[in-house]
Every structure is written in structure tokens, then in C-alpha cells.
Subunit: 347 residues, 4 copies
């Protein structure tokens, strides 16, 4: 196994003006991507954020990290009794989890019983770490405790896919996994016209036809957006995240309204799994990026990760708004594509 | 906007023995990832491929790339008539698409009508390119042709999300998008015991409980696997792909059978969007990787991309099998996690 | 097993004015339900249909009935070869299917390969029958033929759930199953105000917030409506249908637009499985209802079933529009609920 | 509107032997259906329940009824503050709900925020009523209270589809709606052979291939069964239920295991919405059926409805097991279909 590296070009976009319950700042953000048109597109969105009175309003709604274990019970009555017993002694579970880590704190659990199969989905806060390893280790401890103290259940799997990590499901959006951030922007009609060359009505209609109905017809699951995945991938790579989490991270909802010509535009991202410590984040380009983003200065555990999630979400809004605006205008797009295609070897 | 780069560590795994309708070879593959445990895990799977009589049997089942446009019709009767007219003059559509590119060839289209909204999903073969830009450009031409020749329809969007690109939906697996590759391996009982420290029955049971039922309970959509996303991300980054396509690429199915103690194990990946030309693939580390993978030598257009898709799918099997085997064994996992955690700053 | 009967109260609603490619008529329709508020609600919608210039415009977009068989192949290469062979000799398959029934005609098939599992989804037209039994019998014949002529495949199941019958999936809307009918109505602003006590804008906004985004957040699959299931159940029971087909029948999309104060309102129902012959439809109340609906007079096979599907879809629009209008108005609903509740024993 | 009735033939199946945390009894159950083959099929399952040592083991895991309201907030920060305020004064919400009904009791609520849209999903226990009307009335009261006390939010809809009633979604199975019942049976190998003419291995394999993988490939959502909808429809009609609730009721999971030749077979039905009072249930055939089922004798509120849910779930297991067994055997099915087809007019 000889080692080398993949080099992904990176640019800083911004500044993006952000206000809200976590970040009140003007911040530039890094995007690492092979798809270079992403940069000017996001940059146009960033420019709009500084044209909006409150900038991008970002609301951190929730945070938690989860792991579901799978147990094999003798039968459903045994599984049901196990759940009741574990619910009754939840503080004991918290103590067990606490032994596994200084940072992971068990805040709840839910269950699914399917026949004799018992899935326990443990929910933690994990400080500034994304928390994949922390919650696995804590779940290992919890598993061991359960196997010792609950009769009639056997080991099934340390991960039962009801977590759910990096798979397209509904559970994360419904029960929560990662940071849940809503971003919104309010743009005057003339800004929409001058910067985006479109109208609020056109964007709202496009969002309904394409993001809501188009994705629905495709059999989409909790997804109504144009390209959250592109923005998240670039942001995650640039900040040393486990970028495979774009699978669930990209399951979000764009909602737009025409308010008498002004544009209300929002991106809801309920499953942002990000951290500012661990793996690639502690040194090299990612550490530099995190420092420059102001994600090294948090006073309380989790402050840095929360800030990072908000920046990711605001970046998504910039790119989503810009692309949707472009897609309302057939001429603009055809021109852009032709220009772009001409410079590639594929034609 | 100052430029720099994200550096993702990369290692070569293998050799992987592959047989089938596209590749018959022993090949090492590159994985670029911040999650270093992925390398030894995939390497264990690779080792198994050389222990299997036919190696990993990889079957390329289909290939096509798609773009759906959105049209706004006067009403559903108008949309319905439009579809009938376009169906009748399909060869004209092919000619229009052919004008846009030397490589993109229109091979079919399907439709969805929702009220007055008309979605046309065009299907192309795109040679060795992943084809995102090619099919957009061809769809631009088709859109222009349709707006000129079909009465009562207006521009809606050059992309109507019924494509579907980088969103978690069902349509790609049902109608096809990208390369559809099935990989299989047959392992003798003693190899399962000696290399994976488990049994065929344990893996088959785990697959049912975790990948099938666990994901189902989570509200998963066409997803039944442990971590295809991890392998695909690392493979895509290492070969210069648009890695946001792991969103749909990771929607695949693991199926395992206990055959009298021997293990039948398969990974089905219906939505692999890969290319060997365009963007990052023509120079630098990705070009080197593609050359070393033998993806520069194809004689017919598409040969290189098909080979790449098969290598990606075989790599996924290596990593999936290894992780599932590990998860059948509580002791092994706890040990691995503890060892891993101890070396990080998160504890 | 002693026999008796469930008696479901039934009323006739209408007349509903319908125009389009299948029905041009004013028709009253029967609704059998225990939920009596459904009648006045649907009746209000019917009244609107006679206020619209073209009435309810109903477009039959497609029709087919399907059954998927499951085969177990030696491996994926065998499954892949089987598909290619069957595709090449499709006319032979048609002949085999034709032997099973005078009415069932095989018009196509699609495949899914997952590891060694091969699903073949056969598509038929079935005349005036819903076709459940016809396509099962034809698939039995096809299965027998395939097992005899294709090496390396074994019987898996006569139904592999990729059909899909009476389960909530995406495949039926994407590939087609049953009748696909789009219904639309255009109402002047003053009619919306006087009859529905609301505005086009309020209905369009409610549809986006509730039917599109609300269902999406719930993890819905190809469903964006308020209560298609209620209308379909009542219509299906009243006409002797297999009412369990409301499961997929109710997977449809409501789309509304505010057109300068006028209301454009549409219901798209891609999976209406109905018949006018077979089981309960040949005698008794259902036969009477079908006769009164004009579903006994079709000249070509399938005419009656197509008419019935269109009537069902138009009925759905009546009830959907009426409920959505009511939900835009908090006062109206609270009043209705209080009035209703007072008459029941549950308070 | 002239009134008449739909007459659905009904037969009693059984006795079914049931044990568990709610019912310990041998009970016959009524099935009203136009599809007569359902009766002998369910009867075969009932016969097996008396052959199993513990009969069908039925575990009631949970019960609740829900309604989600939709509010339009000024923006996401306002929505977020509203949720925090309502969480803090939950006992006040309980008091408001309690004023609306003697039986409905608010036990919790969850939220979704998408941009400025706020969905509150209220959870109630509703005694012996299915509770549709009760929870709507209670939600009306809660809506009024919220609009009065929370600044910056406006009425959106009394039902926001995040409930979710009669639509195919994931939320009900994840958060709970209706009764959650698991039914299990353990059958000795010789009973499987003599009564079902198959083996435990054949049934387990069929369940994986058809119910789990087949439905997954179809883009199914939380559904893995052969025909729960058929059984539920018949049971619901026979007992005067709102049978449109089969849409979510049929979203359940069959899980089977081959235990050294013995068969473990289970049906998990997380969304059974049933009641023993209200509408059709208080008189006529349904009242008679409920009395005969022992669903008039409950001592505590909810006892009757819980018993009914368990009987429904046990009935589903009878029919599901019987059909799956039949589908393992190609000969048996072809014969049955031919016999059945010959007696109809469709051939």
C-alpha cells in the first residue's frame, strides 16, 4: 500500500453575512471541488447575503448524534420488556455512556421492534466532534451493559442501520441526527431583478415544480432541493469532514415565497454532521481552514461545531439560490452551458 | 477568492481479482479518505477476492445518463399530446441531440405528467464521460426544439429533478442512471472462518436484520447496505469523479446467502456515475490513477468508463463484506474501536 | 364459517361535469362510506364542476396492469443473460401470455437484478378487468415457459413485490400500473370566493405547505394530497372494486396555481386499478351502480374500465378541492368539527 | 342524493389462538371482502395458530393518535422560539386539550420546522375511539390557544399532513400512530410440512427475496409484506372501521426465521388505527361483530380498542403466513389460480 493524496482545488467564497442564534458575523468559506462553476455560483449567493438587511438568518434548531444497536430478543414480549426496563433505568444508561468518553452525553433513546428484532437508537451530544466514533464506543459500552443485565437478548449488531449513517432514509430528519439548521433570506424585488435577473414569483414557481414535485415524482425521500450535495461536498472536503455524510446531509428542503415581489428564500438542513476536532481536522489544510472560519475559539464544548454547521448551511443557501435563479432563465443557462462545454474535452 | 487545495490521503488497495462481462483482471485501486480504518478494511476484502475461485464476479447490467427537463403545458391534454408527438418523432429528437455532441446519443425518454407540469427524462449514452454536462447541453438543444415545435408548452426548467442528480430517490434504480453493476463472491466456509472470523449464516442473518430491516425501519429508499458511501467517496475522490454522486451511488443492495456453510455475498450498485474524461480526470493525480487502473486503454468509446465502474463496484464489495463480517463479532469490534479511539483526541 | 355481510351506506353525488379524451358527460357517482361528512364535501366539489366552463378536464394518460415474478438465478451473469434472451424473443413471450386469456395482452416487461435475484415485471392490458387474476395466470404461464427454456434460473415467487400490488412504493407511478388519470379544473375568482369561501392564493399556498412539504417531512413516497384515500375507498366499495388497491391508488399529487385570482386545481392519480367485470361487479348493487354510471355500454374492450377510472379520478378532485378549501379557513373548520362532534358519542 | 348501500360479503374465520400482553383467548374474526379466496387462506392460518403451543403471541407495544397542525411563522427564529415556549408550558397545552374531550389526553408533541413553516404533531390517547375526530377537535383548541398566546405565528392548516393520516409515509412507524402490535408464531417443522406443504427455509428465503428485497427495489417505504392490505381491509370493513386507514396500516414488516427446520414467523404492524366506538361501530352489523369479538366488555377506557387491534394483527398473520407458504410452491399456486380463474367471467 503506497500512499499519496488526492488534491481537490479549493477557493474561498464570501464574505457571507449571517445573523441568528449561533452566528452573527461576515465570514468567507472554503469550497473544495473539481466542479469549478460551483465557485462563481456560490459567490453570487454570498453577494446577495450582504445585500439583505439581516443577511442570511440562520437558526440552529437542534443537535444530537446517534447510533442504533441491534439486539436479537427471544421474542417480541422480551424485547418489549427490555425497552420498559431500560426506560425505567435511563440514568443508569447515562452513567454507562459517560464512562466511555469525557464528551459524549446520552440524552435519550428510541426503539423499534420488528418481530424479535430490537433496535435501540441512542442519542448523544458529542461536543465539538462529529461523533461517529464517540457514539460507537458509547454504544459498545451500552451494548455490553444491556447484554449483562437484560435477560433474553443477544448481540445483533453494534450498528443496526436505524442510526442512520450515510444512507438515504427518513429517520434522521424526523428524530434528528447532526445539526438541524434553517437558513433564510429576504431579498427586495429590485435586488432579485438586478443580481439574479429573475423574479420572486419565478423562483417560487420553479421551486414547487422542480424541487417539490419533480423530486416527489422521482420517488424522493425528504429531499426537495436542487444541489445541496454539491455545496456540502465542497464544504466538507475543505474542512476535513467525513464527506460521505453528504448522503443524509443533502436531504433538505428549499422553500420560497413571492411576497409582493420580494423574495423569501429558505434552505432547511436537518442532518448536518460536522465536527471541528478529530481525524483530518487537527492539522494541515483543514485545521487552517477551521481556524480561519473562527471554529477554534468556542468557549463551551460544541460552540465550534455549531458555528461550523451554520456556516455550512449558509453556504448551501448561497449556492442553491444562485442555481435556482439561473434555472428560471432559459437563455442564461444555455449560454453558460455552451461557454462551459466549449472549454472541456468532452465535446 | 484565493486558491489552495484540500489534500485527501490516498492509498492503493489490492490486488482485487475480478471476472465478468467487462473486466477480467487483478487490479489495485486507490482510496482517498480522511477515515483511515477504511484502508485495512477494504484490503481484507481484496485479499478474499484472490481466495475466491472466480474472484469477484462483476456484471455490468446497464448504462445510461439522464437529464429531465420540466415543461409547463397549458393543461394536461396539451402535455399528453406533446408526449405522443415527441414519441412519434423520436428519430428527430435523436438528430437534435446528436447535433449537440459527438459522444452523447439519445437512446430513449420517459415522461411524468402532474397536472399541467410535464417532465421529460431523456436517456443518453455518453461515451467515457460521466456525462453531466453533455446531457445538459443536449437537453438544452432538445428543449429549444420542443419549445419551437410543440404548441402550448413553455419553459419550466432545464432540470426538473426527475433526472435525478445527487438526490435520494427511487427513479434512478428503476429507470437507470449511470452504470448498473452487480458484484458477487462465493467463499468457502473455511475461508470465511479463517479470514473473516465468522460464518456465512452470521453474515446472512446480519444482512437481513441490519441492512434490510434496519434500513427499512429507518424509512430508507432503495438502500440496504452498511457503508457503500464510504467506499464510493474514497474511490471517487481518488479518480477525480464528481463525488457528490455518492448520494445516489450509495443506494444499493447487499444480499447474502448461507449455502451449506459457504458464503454467497453480493453488492448491487445500480447508479454508478463515473467517467474517465472531463474536469479533474485529464491531468494530475486523477489522470495518473486512471492510467494505472487501465482506464486509458479502452478501444471503443465507453470502454474506460465501464471498466472504472466495475472497479468501483468491486471495491465496494471488498469494504462491505469486511465491515459486515466485523459487525457479526462483538468482541472484534469493541477491540477495534477501543484501539482506534485511544489514538484520537476525542476521548 | 357462517356468512353475513358488511353494509356500507352509499349515496350518489353529482352531477359532475367531465370533459376530456375519454369521458364527455355529466355523471352522478356513488360513494359508500361510514364517514358521512364525505358526501356533502364531495357534493360541493361536484357543484363546482358544473360552474367551470369545461367542467373537470380528465386526461387518461396511460393504462397497464402488471405482475412481477421472482426468479433465482445461478448468479448475476446468468440473470443478465436471461434478460437478454427474453428481450430478444419478446414475441414468443407475448404468444405464451396470449394462451392464458382472451383479454390479457403482454405489452412489455422490465427487470431488476439484485445479486442472483431476478425480478421480471410483466405489463399487460387487460380489457375491462382490473386484471389481478389475469396477469397472475399469464405470469404463471410465462414462469413455466421461462423455467423450461432459460438455463440456470429457478422458481422464486409468482409475485416478487416489484409489481407492486397494495404496497406503498414508487415503482407504480414511475413505470405505470393501473390507469393514469389527470384531472384539472379552472375556477373563476368569484366562484372560489362564493362557493369555497376562500381564494386561489390561499389554496395554492396550503397545497405547498401541507400536501407537498408536510407530506415530504413525514417521509412520504410519491404522495402529495389531503385525502385521496377517502374518496377512492368510497368509490371503490360502491362499484365493487378490490378496495385494498387504495393503498397505491391514493399515491397521487395535487397541484394548484393562483392565476391572477382564478384557481387552477389538479389531481394526478397514476395508479387507479379498477375494472367493470369480475367478482362483485357482475351482479347486485355494484352491477347496478356500474350500469347507472354508463360502464356497461363500452364498444371496445377496456372502454368501460377507462370510463370508470376517469369517474373515480373526477370524484377525487371534487372531494380534494372541497377539503383543501375548508382547511384554508380556520373558522369554517372549527364550526364544522364542533357541529359534527356534538352528534357523536365520543365527546 | 338517494341513499342505498354497498353490501360486502362477510365470513367468520377461526378460532385463532392468541396469547400475549393484551389478549389470551381463542377468537373467531369476521372478514368482509369481495375477494373470496381470502377466507380459506386466512382460515388455514387460523388453524395453524391452534397448532402452535402458545398460539399467536401478540404484543401491543404502543398506542397513540396524532394530528399535526401547520403554522406559518414570521421566520424560523420565531418558529423555534414558539416550540421552546410550548415545550416549557406543556401542562398548559394538556389542560387546553383536556377541555375539548372527556377521553382525549395529550401525551406529547414533536415539531418540524421547514423555513418559516412550523408543524406541530400532537400525540393523544383516545380511549376506545380511533380518535380522528377527537384529535382534530383537540387540535382546534390547541391551535386557537397557540394563535392567541404565541406572537408571530399565523394559522396554516388544522392538518399539515405530518400527522399522517391515510398517506404512505415513514413518520407513523417512527413516531407512532395508532396501535403498534407485533404478532409471532413458532411452528414445528412437521406442521409446516403437513399444513403448509413447505419448509421454514423456503418461507424465510421467500420473505427476504420478495417482501424485503422486492419491495425495496420497488421503492417501498417501511413496507415488507405480501398482502397486509387485503386482510386489514376485510377486517376493518367487518368491524365498521374507517377502512381508508389501511393505507398506513398496511405498512408493516414480515420477518421469518428458519430455526433448525422449525418456523419462526412474525408480522409487525405499527400503525393500526382502530376503534370500538363512534360512527358505524355503535349499531348494526359492526356493533354485532364487535360484541361477538368481546370488544364491548373492556373495563378501562381503551381496553376494547386494544383488544380489537390485537385481533386485527393476529388475523393479518394468519393470512400473510398462508399466502407466503403458497407462493413457495409453484405447483400449488398454478393449480389454485387455474381453479379460481375457471370460475370467473374474465377468461
Amino acid at each position: 500500500m503506497n500512499e499519496t493524496a488526492a488534491i481537490v482545488p479549493m477557493r474561498w467564497i464570501g464574505p457571507i453575512r449571517i445573523t441568528g442564534n449561533t452566528v452573527n458575523d461576515e465570514v468567507s468559506v472554503p469550497l473544495a471541488t473539481f466542479e469549478s462553476p460551483l465557485w462563481p455560483s456560490a459567490q453570487r449567493g454570498a453577494r446577495l447575503s450582504t445585500a439583505a438587511e439581516r443577511g442570511i438568518v440562520a437558526t440552529l434548531v437542534d443537535e444530537r448524534m446517534t447510533r442504533s444497536i441491534l439486539l436479537r430478543a427471544d421474542d417480541a414480549p422480551t424485547a418489549h420488556r427490555a425497552v420498559r426496563q431500560l426506560t425505567a433505568e435511563f440514568d443508569r444508561l447515562q452513567a454507562v455512556a459517560a464512562e466511555s468518553s469525557r464528551y459524549a452525553r446520552l440524552i435519550g433513546f428510541t426503539r423499534q421492534i420488528a418481530g424479535n428484532l430490537l433496535f435501540l437508537r441512542f442519542e448523544f451530544v458529542t461536543g465539538d466532534a462529529a461523533g461517529h466514533n464517540m457514539v460507537t464506543l458509547a454504544s459498545d459500552h451500552l451494548m455490553e451493559h444491556i447484554l449483562k443485565t437484560i435477560p433474553g437478548v443477544r448481540y445483533g449488531s453494534i450498528s443496526g442501520n436505524y442510526c442512520t449513517d450515510k444512507k438515504a432514509t427518513a429517520v434522521n430528519g424526523i428524530l434528528g441526527r447532526g445539526k438541524n439548521v434553517v437558513t433564510e433570506i429576504l431579498l427586495p424585488a429590485d435586488t432579485v431583478a438586478s443580481t439574479l435577473h429573475t423574479t420572486a414569483a419565478a423562483i417560487a414557481d420553479l421551486n414547487v415544480g422542480k424541487n417539490l414535485i419533480g423530486t416527489l415524482l422521482a420517488g424522493g425521500i425528504r429531499s426537495a432541493n436542487a444541489h445541496y450535495a454539491n455545496l456540502l461536498l465542497a464544504f466538507y472536503l475543505a474542512t476535513g469532514q467525513d464527506a460521505a455524510n453528504i448522503v443524509e446531509g443533502s436531504q433538505g428542503v428549499t422553500h420560497a415565497e413571492d411576497r409582493d415581489g420580494d423574495l423569501y428564500f429558505s434552505c432547511t438542513l436537518p442532518n448536518l454532521i460536522v465536527g471541528t476536532t478529530g481525524n483530518a481536522k487537527n492539522q494541515g489544510f483543514a485545521a487552517d481552514a477551521l481556524a480561519r472560519l473562527g471554529c477554534r475559539e468556542g468557549r463551551a464544548p460544541g460552540d465550534n461545531a455549531r458555528r461550523l454547521a451554520v456556516l455550512a448551511a449558509a453556504t448551501v443557501l448561497c449556492g442553491e439560490l444562485s442555481l435556482l435563479a439561473a434555472q428560471t432563465n432559459p437563455g442564461e443557462l444555455m449560454h453558460a452551458h455552451l461557454k462551459y462545454e466549449r472549454s472541456t474535452a468532452t465535446k
